[in-house]
């Protein structure tokens, strides 16, 4: 295990997932995908000028390119000739392809290969170190990610109220004097900066997994924005620590295992969350269906009790045909109704008990609303 690599992984996960919360809530997930690719053009253009892969200008140029991407996409949507998804698709592939062309024609001899751009290189971050007066201060990526995380935490704490309002209700934000456009571009600037910084470690494709995965997982559990943020950061940390341990144990690429962990934790949460999980929902739906079926049975029995066809309609052996239920389901509901003393059998004929009558009356008086 290498603590430095793990630290870079965790810091990257924290910085990306924090801004990701707002991207998910603003439904901008795919815009992030665009930004995480087009920043390459910013890096390439800046590199043509400064010819130094470690220059901070690369970071600045790439961040600006992210904002330019957002601007171009929105300008295209404004023309009302294309929809948002198509605008994103055409703008980011265009800018990205320019970057690819420049890389393959101009920098054949420079180490800036496409694999690394797409998938990142967490394994090698420890070789690029910050030296001050001959003292080793640790990997450059560690410092970059720490600074970016500090910027994100700082800005989002200071403008928490404003970003929350403009995310939930942009129209009201504008009416109250907080420009929704300003907030949008402000957020997209720190998203770009974060994507650029994370890019080095995890590459263009996996940035989006780190940004979007932990927030969508957290949102399955939480009911306030603050709790969503706290849980998002916890999940992001968990994913990167377990992901790194897996990569180390299995000797495979770290960014791959972290992204896999991100999806694994999301799918587990989707199944198991007590609030919105699929399992609990299936359970609740089944319970509800049985409850309504029980009420339906009592209504059926009451309606036919006094009629001439009572012997046919209420015969326990053929009841499932009249209700159009499977035999097994019908027996289950009859058993339940019997166990709760709503009905009893006289020979083969089902009769309502006093308790059953009382329940029937509450069902019918309620039936304009919902069956409780």
């Amino acid at each position: 295990m290498n603590v430095e690599i793990l630290a870079v992984a965790v810091l990257t996960a924290l910085a990306t997932s924090l801004v990701g919360v707002f991207l998910v809530l603003r439904r901008l997930s795919m815009l992030t995908d665009a930004i995480s690719h087009t920043i390459l053009l910013g890096i390439v253009l800046a590199f043509m000028v400064v010819a130094d892969l470690t220059s901070p200008f690369l970071l600045v140029a790439a961040t600006l390119m992210g904002v330019v991407t957002v601007f171009l996409i929105e300008a295209l949507i404004q023309t009302r000739r294309v929809k948002e998804d198509a605008a994103i698709g055409v703008v980011f592939t265009f800018l990205f392809s320019i970057a690819v062309i420049i890389v393959t024609t101009q920098f054949r001899n420079v180490h800036l290969d496409i694999d690394m751009v797409l998938l990142g290189n967490l394994e090698f971050v420890i070789f690029d170190r910050v030296m001050l007066f001959d003292r080793d201060l640790g990997p450059a990526s560690l410092w970059v990610m720490a600074v970016v995380l500090a910027i994100n935490v700082g800005l989002l704490s200071v403008f928490y109220k404003e970003i929350k309002l403009s995310t939930f209700d942009p129209a009201l934000a504008s009416v109250l004097g907080f420009s929704a456009v300003l907030m949008h571009y402000g957020l997209m600037t720190i998203v770009s900066l974060t994507a650029v910084a994370a890019f080095n470690a995890v590459g263009a494709i996996l940035v989006i997994a780190l940004m979007i995965g932990p927030p969508i997982t957290a949102l399955l559990f939480t009911k306030t924005l603050f709790h969503t943020i706290v849980l998002t950061l916890a999940i992001a940390t968990f994913n990167s620590v377990v992901g790194y341990a897996l990569a180390w144990g299995l000797d495979v690429t770290i960014s791959g295992t972290i992204a896999t962990m991100t999806m694994a934790s999301f799918f587990s949460a989707m199944l198991l969350s007590p609030k919105r999980g699929l399992l609990f929902e299936a359970f609740r739906t089944k319970k509800q269906r049985e409850h309504i079926a029980l009420a339906g049975l009592l209504v059926h029995v009451e309606n036919h009790a006094e009629s001439e066809d009572a012997a046919i309609e209420l015969n326990a052996n053929t009841l499932h045909e009249h209700m159009n239920w499977s035999r097994a389901f019908c027996e289950k509901i009859v058993q339940r109704a019997t166990a709760q003393h709503y009905i009893r059998l006289e020979g083969n004929i089902i009769k309502l008990t006093e308790t059953g009558h009382a329940f029937y009356r509450t069902v019918v008086s309620d039936s304009r609303g919902t069956i409780r």
Binding site: F168, A171, T224
Partner: protein
Amino acid sequence: MEYALHVEDLTVAYDKQPVLWDVDLDVPQGVLLGIVGPNGAGKTTLIKAALGLVKPLTGSVLFAGETYKKVHKRIAYVPQKGSVDWDFPTTVFDVVMMGRYGHLGWIKRPGKKERDAVVKALDKVDMLAYKNRQISELSGGQQQRVFLARALVQDADIYFMDEPFQGVDVKTEKAIVTLLKALKNEGKTVIVVHHDLNTVPAYFDWVALLNIKLVAVGPVGETFTEGNIRNAYQTDTLMSHERDHDA
């Protein structure tokens, strides 16, 4: 006399389609005004243009003689319920608190004074028991009450509400009407986009009939006449206007 809302020569167009055509509208202080008109008459657009949410092609809007920017803290806005994501991770209390943000300004955090105001507003709309609920767990009527409470904490002079009765139960509708009348009695100006003609005389004391052009505005007794209603709901209002324009 100073008008609470003064709209002059307001035209709004999306692409080539006119949505509002040269609207002049004066609303005196302390009235409860219903804006009615057929679908696509520009009722919502009128409110949005007044609040600077859509950019008009021509015209100007003044609030008690001042521009919107100068007095925005005195203006409350209740958008259509469907304009926000009700699955957003936030509680009833938090949403109502957002109404105080305008008074707080940038960066400043809400304190005890703001929290007290929120509790008071929630009590007024009978939603105090739900203050810690996530908004996704509310019924349509409860959502509208929350939006109303958010407008109440703004403590404004003029209230704009976009279809506050849409998708709410009868009980909530009555409660909202009572609140609107209470606001009016405190001297506030309340402007409501409304679509049910039957309830206009009972709910409002002023009415504006709109169909892209303003057909009529004034006290309900004088303005809400069969002739004006027919004019507003005639589908060829715009076409006749265009003919006038071409002539």
